[in-house]
C-alpha cells in the first residue's frame, strides 16, 4: 500500500507517539524521511513503500513511520528544510496543526475560555530556539502563573498559536486572571505584555504569511510559471524530480515528501485563480508524465484543484492496475484525453481501456487511441438526458357543467365574501386545511414571500407530525371554516374567464362518496377538481401585498336535501412562492391537418349550435384545441351574439 499524505490530525498523533512530555502541539513535526527520493532515472519517487520491489534495493527504507527508531534519530538532526516545511504547511495546508491542543480535558468543551495576547517573544532570546521559543514561553507562563497558595491546581493553557509578533493563548476563565498577572514579567531578556484578546485567536487566513513562507510561495509560483505554456494552456508538471529549482529548495531532501510538495504546488495553483472559470480557461491540459506515481492517491489534490481538466498525461508512471486509478473513477468528468502510456498497467491488464472508457463518459483519446467520437459523446449525453412528461391542455371532464359552475363562482366569492361562500357549499362534514410549501421552485428574480400569515396554520404533514397538531389544523364544518377563513389574509384571484391562461383546472368524476341521505351503502358520485393558479394577498392590518401560487383540490358531492345541491366534501389548499404556469405544448396545432379541422368544426357546431363561421373563430382562438374551444364557448356563452347560433338565423 502506498503511503498517503498526512491526514488532518495525524501530526498530533505523531506528536503523542513520540512520548516526549515537553513536546508542544503540532507545530514541530517529527516525521522522519529519507534524504532524497529520486530514483535512478532522476524521477521523483512518490511511493516510498514500492521501493522494496524496486530494482534499486540499496536505497534506505524511506517509509516514514511516526514512532520508529529511525524517526527519532533523524529528528535530532537540525535541518534547514524542516522549518520551511512547517511554514509552508501552515500557510498552505490549512490543517489544524497550528492551533495545538495541549492536554485538553473533557471539561474544556463546556468551560468558558478566555483568549490572551502575549507580546515579547520575538524580542526574547528564546525566539532563536527551535520552534521559535513558543514551547519555552508556554512552560514559563504556566509555571509562573501558579500562585503560591494554589499548588494543587496547575494553570493550564488550552491552546496556543503564534501569529506575527504575538502568541495567542487560550485558558479557562479561572486561570486567565492568574496569567494576566504575569504582565511585565521578564522572559528570556524581554518584557512580556499580556493583554486580553476579546477578538479571540485571529483567523489563520487573515494572518499575514511570514516572509519565509511568502518566499517559498513565490518560489513555487516561479516553478509553476516556468512550467506553464500559455499558448497550449498546458501545465507541464512532468519529471518534477529533476526540477533544479525544486531540488534547490530542498523539497526532495529532509522531511518534505513529494506528496506534500505536490499538494503545496496545487494549493499555490489554486491561489492563482479568482474563479473556477478562470482556472478552466487558463489550464486545459496537465502533464504529470514521468513522476513515478503508482496510485492516484498521491496526486489526489490534482482533482480538487483542476476538477475540469480536459487533457491529462500520466504516461511514464508506475500505475500497474485499475485499483491504482480507482479513486478518480467518479472525478474528472470533463476528461477527453488520458495518456497512460508506459505504465505497467499496459502489460498487466491489457483490458484496462474498456474499463477506463466507462469511467470517463467524455473520454475521446486514451493513450493515443481514439475511443469515442465527439458525436458519440453528444449522442450519449442526449440519450441520458431526461425529458419531462409533456404538458397537455386542461383535462376537464365535467358532469353537467357542475365543476365549471362551481369553480367560476368559487374564486370571486372567496375573494369577496368567504362567509357566504362557505355557507353555500360547505356543511357540517366539510373539511378545509392549508399547507405551505416553502421550498417550491420559483423565478430567481422574484423576492421570496414571507409566510407569517399562513405558516402557523400550515398542515403540511412533512412538518406537522403529531396527531394533535394535525387535528388542530384541520377545520371541519361550516362554522370552523368560516371562522378560519376570516383569519386568512384577503385575496385577489385573477378573473377565471378573462385570464384563463393563469389557471390550469383539471377535473373528473369519482364514485363512492358518502350518501348524504344514507340510503345507498355503495355511495354516490361526485367529482374531484384540482385548480392551479395564483392570487395576490394583503397582509392583515397593512397594505403589503404579495403574489403567490396555489394548488387547490376539491372533492365535490351532492348536497343533503334542502341544502345546496353541491357540497364541498374536502378542500385542500397548497400555497407556494409565485411561479408562472407552463403553457401547454403548442405542437398540437402544427399536427392538425385540414381534414381534422373540418371534423372539429362540425363537431363544435353540432355541440354548441354555433354557425360554422363562429365555430371556426372559436377554434382559432383555442389554437384548434377542441376541449379548450368548447370550454371557452361555455365560459363566454352569455356574451356571444345571437347571430352566432344557427337557430338564430
Amino acid at each position: 500500500m502506498a503511503p498517503m499524505g498526512p491526514k488532518k490530525g495525524s501530526t498530533r498523533n505523531a506528536q503523542s507517539n513520540t512520548g516526549k512530555p515537553n513536546s508542544r502541539g503540532g507545530i514541530s513535526k517529527r516525521r522522519g524521511a529519507g534524504p532524497l527520493k529520486i530514483d535512478r532515472d532522476g524521477d521523483l519517487n512518490m511511493d516510498a513503500s514500492a521501493n522494496a520491489s524496486h530494482p534499486n534495493s540499496k536505497r534506505p527504507n524511506n517509509n516514514s513511520t511516526p514512532s520508529g527508531p529511525a524517526t527519532r534519530t533523524s529528528s535530532r538532526n537540525p535541518r534547514p528544510t524542516a522549518k520551511a516545511q512547517q511554514i509552508i504547511q501552515r500557510a498552505l495546508n490549512g490543517d489544524a496543526s497550528q492551533i495545538s491542543s495541549r492536554r485538553v480535558s473533557r471539561r474544556a468543551d463546556t468551560e468558558p475560555l478566555v483568549t490572551l495576547k502575549v507580546e515579547g517573544l520575538k524580542a526574547s532570546k528564546a525566539a532563536s530556539n527551535q520552534g521559535g521559543g513558543v514551547r519555552e514561553l508556554l512552560t514559563f507562563i504556566e509555571r509562573k502563573a501558579k500562585s503560591p497558595g494554589q499548588i494543587t491546581r496547575p494553570i493550564k493553557i488550552r491552546k496556543s498559536q503564534m501569529s506575527g509578533d504575538f502568541v495567542y493563548i487560550t485558558a479557562s476563565k479561572e486561570d486567565a486572571p492568574q496569567i494576566l498577572k504575569l504582565n511585565n514579567f521578564l522572559f528570556a531578556g524581554a518584557t512580556l505584555r499580556i493583554t486580553e484578546a476579546p477578538e479571540g485567536i485571529p483567523n489563520r487566513d487573515s494572518t499575514p504569511l511570514s516572509s519565509t513562507a511568502l518566499e517559498i510561495k513565490e518560489q513555487l509560483r516561479s516553478v509553476l510559471s516556468t512550467r506553464y505554456d500559455v499558448n497550449a494552456k498546458l501545465l507541464n508538471l512532468s519529471t518534477l524530480g529533476e526540477d533544479p529549482q525544486l531540488n534547490q529548495m530542498g523539497f526532495f531532501r529532509g522531511e518534505a515528501t513529494p506528496e506534500k510538495m505536490f499538494r503545496a504546488l496545487m494549493a499555490v495553483c489554486d491561489g492563482l485563480f479568482k474563479t473556477a472559470q478562470a482556472k478552466r480557461d487558463a489550464i486545459v491540459s496537465i502533464s504529470l508524465a514521468g513522476n513515478n506515481v503508482n496510485d492516484v492517491l498521491q496526486i489526489m489534490s490534482l482533482t480538487d484543484t483542476f476538477p475540469d481538466v480536459v487533457n491529462l498525461d500520466l504516461s511514464r508512471n508506475q500505475f500497474k492496475d485499475l485499483k491504482a486509478l480507482q479513486k478518480w473513477r467518479h472525478r474528472l468528468r470533463s476528461l477527453q484525453t488520458l495518456l497512460l502510456n508506459e505504465n505497467p498497467i499496459e502489460v498487466a491488464n491489457p483490458n484496462y481501456k474498456a474499463e477506463m472508457i466507462t469511467w470517463f463518459p467524455k473520454l475521446l483519446n486514451l493513450s493515443g487511441t481514439q475511443v469515442r467520437t465527439p458525436e458519440q459523446v453528444a449522442a450519449a449525453e442526449a440519450a441520458s438526458r431526461p425529458t419531462p412528461i409533456p404538458q397537455s391542455g386542461p383535462d376537464f371532464r365535467d358532469i353537467n357543467r357542475v365543476g365549471e359552475g362551481f369553480i367560476t363562482e368559487f374564486l370571486p366569492l372567496y375573494d369577496t365574501n368567504r362567509h357566504n361562500l362557505a355557507a353555500k357549499y360547505y356543511d357540517e362534514q366539510s373539511t378545509f386545511s392549508i399547507a405551505v410549501n416553502t421550498q417550491s421552485p420559483h423565478a430567481p428574480d422574484v423576492p421570496l414571500p414571507t409566510w407569517g400569515a399562513y405558516i402557523r396554520f400550515s398542515r403540511n404533514h412533512m412538518k406537522i407530525n403529531h396527531p394533535p397538531a394535525r387535528h388542530q389544523r384541520l377545520f371541519t364544518g361550516v362554522n370552523q371554516i368560516q371562522q378560519f377563513w376570516r383569519q386568512l389574509p384577503p385575496t385577489q384571484h385573477p378573473n377565471l374567464t378573462a385570464q384563463l391562461d393563469k389557471y390550469i383546472v383539471d377535473c373528473h368524476p369519482i364514485h363512492g362518496l358518502a350518501d348524504p341521505v344514507g340510503h345507498n351503502p355503495l355511495g354516490v358520485d361526485g367529482m374531484i377538481i384540482t385548480i392551479h393558479g395564483e392570487f395576490d394577498d394583503q397582509e392583515l392590518g397593512t397594505t403589503k401585498t404579495a403574489k403567490r401560487s396555489f394548488s387547490r383540490t376539491f372533492v365535490l358531492g351532492p348536497g343533503a336535501p334542502g341544502r345546496n345541491p353541491i357540497r364541498v366534501v374536502s378542500d385542500m389548499l397548497s400555497v407556494k412562492a409565485f411561479k408562472n404556469l407552463p403553457t401547454s405544448a403548442p405542437t398540437q396545432t402544427t399536427t392538425i391537418n385540414d381534414q381534422q379541422k373540418e371534423q372539429m368544426l362540425l363537431e363544435l357546431s353540432k355541440q354548441t349550435g354555433m354557425t360554422p363561421e363562429f365555430s371556426r373563430l372559436c377554434l382559432d382562438g383555442a389554437n384548434w384545441n377542441f376541449d379548450q374551444a368548447l370550454a371557452s364557448f361555455h365560459e363566454k356563452k352569455a356574451q356571444i351574439p345571437r347571430e352566432a347560433f344557427i337557430t338564430a338565423v
Binding site: 468528468r333 440519450a383 404538458q391 430567481p444 404533514h461 373528473h508 362518496l513 394548488s551 383540490t553
Partner: protein, 208 residues
Amino acid sequence: MANLPSLDTQARVASDAAQNFVEHYYQSLNKRQPLAQYYASISPHLTSASVKPDISINGRVVESTAAYEALLDAQGANVHYDIASFDAHPVNPNYGLGCPENLSPAADANEGGGGPGRGKVAKSIKDGDRVSFAVQVSGTIRYGNPSDAPVAANAAAEAGNAAAVEGAPVETGFNESWLLVPHWEALGRNAARGLRKWVVVSQNFRAF
C-alpha cells in the same frame, strides 16, 4: 350506520395512511419500481365493482398504470421526485364500492358474534379501516443528475427557462392530488400479507 368512525378517527386514519402512501409511493417512483400495487386495478373486488383508477398526467388521461409507467420510462433516467408538503382529508368514512360479502355489515350477523353493529365488521368500520381519503402532494421534480451539470447550463436554468435548457438538470414544481379507497383484499381475517391497505382510484398530476 350508527357505527361510523369519529371525525377524529377519520382524520387520523387519513393522515397516517396518506403518510404511509406518500413515503412508499414516491420512493418506488424514484427507484422506478413497479407501481401497480398502489392502484385499485390490483384489487379484483374493486375491479369487479367497475372501480378503476382514473389517472390524469399533465392533462392527459392515462389508460392504465402500465401506460403511466411507460410515460415515466419515456422520461429517462435520473428523474427525482422530492416531496416538500402533503396534506390529507378523509372523504368517505365508510367506503362501500366493491365490498365483498364476507366483509359486508351483514356478515357480522351471520357469525353470531353478537348481532349487527357489534361484530368484527362493525369494529373495523369504527376503527376507520374503510375510510377513503384525499391527498394533496406538493414538491419538486429534478430532471438530471446535479453532479453532471455543466456550469454554463446551470446558470441558464437559474434564469428561469426551465425545460428549454439543454443538458442542464432542471427543477420543476409539481402538484399531485390523490384519492385512495380501502383495498378489500388487504382487509379481513385471511388477507394476504404485504398488500397496500389503501389503493388509488384517482390521480391528478401537474408539473409546473
